[in-house]
């Protein structure tokens, strides 16, 4: 692929440095440089560029990004920033651009970012989904894993699973993988990273799915600060279109902060002793306040037997609000997850998989 590049940068020194880098790389052809984005927008058409590198340290430039995206639909737009800024990176994605990189850069930084961001999927904001369960033993890890698989399958985009159950996370076992890095390392290093350098912390499971595994020792959980974990999730949003977070049970600093941050919270509980609906009722009070400012709250009940609409209505009557979905029991799941064959052995014919699959289809159809 050959790129005809338009470079927009307000600082003259930086502009000449970056222009030099681009000129030196045969893959790139420098079409024009601008310090004023308005001028770039007006004049670039005649130059037939297919790659825009636009300084986004200035919020005014950021506001013009959607215009670049719509005016040059066949081109790609990358934001340039001096230091990684999650707010700006998210604004770049929201504007429909490919993503952001740091400046000054080397040619391979641009090429790596382009290939990572292409793998990510549509140029849309990332969707972050947190799984919260009041008491544990809720089927949340299973449901999170199956949802991730289904999202990847149905969207064709990149999906990340983050095991934030920091003491006893099981996701690596569900997929029978032995990751070399984990969430503790990622949160420790995140302030020094960019999407391209964060990417290797994720273990590629295949079929569009990546995993950031939990630590090996429960006491390492203490090393994770909620804010830094949020930084990891936000940066992961530049690499993956969907970021699924499996939280530890109950309200604790990690689960609260991440549930508050995520744009979608899935409250899930397994029907077992009969007390669970009561616990869900107590938990949802807190989520209700978040819902009022736009967060999506889904409530799921797992291992519902019989899994019928009447049963759902019964649960709803007890729960006192609408239930997003009820999930049937799948006896084979213990054997499949326990033997690490989640990626191989799930079948769309399983009622559990098709229920979660339709939830994934709704999320994909929402295109956000």
């Amino acid at each position: 692929m050959h790129y005809r590049v338009v470079l927009v940068e307000h600082d003259p020194g930086m502009l000449s440095t970056l222009a030099g880098v681009i000129r030196a790389e045969p893959t790139f052809d420098l079409a024009a440089t601008y310090s004023d984005p308005q001028a770039a927008l007006g004049q670039s058409g005649v130059l037939r560029p297919n790659l825009f590198l636009i300084d986004v340290d200035d919020w005014a430039n950021l506001e013009l990004l959607p215009k670049f995206v719509s005016q040059f639909a066949k081109g790609q737009v990358l934001g340039l920033m001096e230091r990684w800024n999650a707010d700006k990176a998210e604004a770049v994605l929201a504007a429909g651009a490919r993503g952001s990189i740091l400046k000054p850069f080397q040619p391979h930084d641009v090429l790596d970012a382009l290939s990572l961001y292409e793998r990510r999927g549509h140029n849309l904001s990332a969707r972050t989904v947190a799984f919260f369960s009041p008491k544990g033993r809720s089927g949340s890890t299973t449901t999170a894993a199956v949802l991730a698989i289904e999202l990847a399958k149905k969207s064709g985009e990149a999906v990340a699973l983050i095991d934030a159950d920091l003491q006893f996370g099981d996701l690596a076992m569900f997929f029978d993988v032995v990751p070399t890095h984990n969430v503790v390392e990622a949160t420790h290093d995140v302030r020094l990273l960019t999407p391209a350098t964060l990417e290797p912390y994720f273990h590629e499971i295949g079929n569009g799915l990546w995993l950031l595994a939990g630590p090996n020792r429960p006491e390492h959980a203490e090393l994770v600060e909620a804010q830094r974990l949020i930084d990891v999730v936000r940066m992961a949003g530049s690499l993956f279109r969907y970021v699924i977070i499996d939280l530890p049970a109950g309200f604790n600093p990690i689960s609260l902060a991440l549930a508050e941050f995520a744009d979608t919270d899935i409250l899930i509980t397994m029907l077992n002793s009969g007390q669970e609906v009561y616990h869900m009722k107590r938990s949802i009070k807190l989520f209700n306040t978040w819902e009022t400012y736009g967060k999506k709250i889904y409530s799921l009940f797992s291992r519902v037997n019989p899994c019928t609409p009447e049963q759902q209505r019964k649960i709803e009557a007890e729960f006192g609000r609408e239930v997003t979905g009820i999930l049937p029991n799948e006896r084979r799941m213990t054997a499949i997850a326990g033997s690490g064959r989640l990626m191989q052995d799930l079948s769309d014919k399983m009622p559990l998989v098709s229920s979660i699959g339709s939830l994934a289809a709704d999320m994909v159809a929402a295109r956000r």
């Binding site: 008491k135 544990g136 076992m173 029978d176 429960p218 109950g250 107590r282 326990g338 064959r341």
Partner: protein, 284 residues
Amino acid sequence: MEEHKNIIIAVFSTEAGCGKTVTAINLAAGLAKEGYSVCLVDLDLQFGDVMGYLDMVSGVNLEDAHEAMQRHPDKFRVEDYLVEYSRGGISFAVLPPPAEIQDAYLIDVATTEAIIRELADFNFIILDTTAVFSALNLAMLDMATVICYLGVMDFLPAVKNYKVGYDTLIRFQYEESKISLIENRSDSEKFIRSRDVERLLGEKFYHRLPNDYPAVAKSIRLGQPLMFSSPLSPLTQSYWQLVGRYTNRYIPPKQPKAEKEPAPQLPFSWLMGIGSDWQLAGKA
């Protein structure tokens, strides 16, 4: 009863939903039946189930005790915050968890330790914890005479978490003799043999509790310990034996039969994902 005073049994696990609360309740009931004074403390501060499982309500709870202890430690009387469960001639005290989830945040570890110390006049104090190494749980495990470490070995990740939890307890320098390894649902249909788990742990199970899901469901539905709701269940008998071991009532001649033989077993290698495909499980 003098030789049994202030014995703290912490019921702990590293996997949610493996029977901690049911075990805590039935230990409390069994010890009470033996004539000991018992206090059951629900330390699942957010989602405690002791009160629900015993069909009790209470106007007082740990949060009230906590507040009183912080305000006037000298005037603190723990009895004011206990409720009594009583049925069929036995009774034991319960210290309920806070009523609201947000109240759980107010509970600090040092004050809780002080409250537990105030329970010293009981023969046995049973602590029902949560499946996490939290500051509170670790403080309670420190105070405990016995850690009743419960696990269900029906799922490889659960076995991993049991092993990781046990190794962590040892690494945190809890004495092995203080930890009693208890396997719950030991005879349920499963692919993992207790013997293999014991080999993995390098330690034998102290006790095995058989599976009796209907009995437990009935016990919860009726709000009664198993000895009342299902007196003849093998699980009830097994809890009674466990109580006997903690009170030195007798030494059982041998372990209860742990596994149905010849139960349909797949080779362990299958479990590790080597070899035949999962559909065999359905056929076996």
